[in-house]
């Protein structure tokens, strides 16, 4: 076995089961402290609301969807999930630094597609995920992970359907990934 090739192929990731147990314990701790699970997409929602509250305040106030998140007392950015997402970023930074993955800006893609295709796909995927996460009342961490762990029916539903859809449509997008 050639260890040199091996180390290129196998970056320093922690054992997935170890990561899983740690994540489960973290989820428990979060529930113990806050009474709710972890989340991620809520921060982007806050960012959207903040941006358009700054750009077009009247519009934001009249919009039925935005107005749910606007209050006079504090900015929507001053929000639990925003701080948590900031933490996710910092945590990623720390981990990347420790395991030596913190490098220059780059695009990761399958050899079969160009960087441009990958970026287009990422953008479209992001838009779809953004829309879907609003209907689903949360993304894969907020709804699927935390929801299922707290025995919410909706969370379980989202988890099954999210991954189920993934497997059904995987064939059509295989070029992007294999």
């Amino acid at each position: 076995m050639n260890t040199n090739i091996e180390s290129v192929r196998r970056p320093k990731y922690i054992n997935p089961y170890f990561g899983g147990v740690l994540l489960g314990l973290l989820l428990l701790l979060t529930m113990y402290i806050t009474g709710r699970g972890l989340g991620a997409s809520g921060a982007v929602k806050s960012a959207v609301v903040t941006t358009f509250d700054k750009v077009a305040p009247v519009h934001t106030e009249s919009s039925t969807f935005y107005s749910k998140f606007i209050s006079d007392s504090h900015s929507p950015m001053f929000n639990w999930l925003v701080f948590e997402s900031l933490g996710i970023f910092i945590g990623g930074l720390i981990s990347g630094a420790i395991f030596g993955r913190l490098k220059k800006i780059r695009v990761e893609h399958s050899p079969k597609i160009s960087s441009k295709t990958r970026l287009w796909a990422a953008g479209i995927g992001g838009i779809l995920f953004g829309i879907g996460s609003q209907f689903g009342r949360g993304c894969s961490s907020g709804a699927a992970l935390s929801g299922t762990a707290s025995f919410s029916f909706g969370g379980f539903l989202v988890m099954m359907l999210l991954f189920g859809t993934g497997y059904i449509v995987a064939y059509f997008f295989r070029k992007l990934w294999i």
């Binding site: 196998r10 990731y13 997935p16 147990v21």
Partner: protein, 212 residues
Amino acid sequence: MHIHELNPKRTIVTLVIFTAIIVIGLVTLKSPRLVFNQPLNETIEMAVWDEGSVFPYELTDVINGNIDTVLLVDLRNTFEFAQGNIPGSENISSVELLSEDNIERLEDHKTKGMCVVVYDNDQLHANGPWMVLRQLGFDNVKILLGGYNYYKQWADNLDDSYSNDAYFKGTPQFDYNEMASSANVDEDDASATKTPITVQRKKKTNVAEGGC
């Protein structure tokens, strides 16, 4: 060879720590000394239907010493108890009611099929302790209507209190609407009508017959 096929030492360690936390939780879990054995709906039914109450006149036999299956318990403090009590009663103040000794004694009485009648100065003060005992599962505990104050009034002729129902609670004594809507209260003072109340009176029995 992939990363997850390596020795999951740290996974094992973390999961063992997690298990240890659970085991510690199990070990340190203290089971409560007292638990409510009466389901809530039964408690409510008991409250709604006034179960488990004892009428003052039912006590005559107990006081005269004709029945020894009934134990009277005075829930007031020792000072008040010393000032006067129903003959044959025992003093356990509400504060000490749930102490280990007293619970043991109550359990003893329950197994012997004894009936325990608790009272305080009035029904209201005995109500809480009585309900707690009932909810703990002591269904042989009853409450004395009217309390000690009523008893004191009628101590000499307790039997006659059968025809008096001043100890009844829970029924309206006035016609509220009529009273509250009278604008000229002053003139109405004298004619404060006491509407006759028809209370379903229990057949005249004594406590023990009611079955504990």
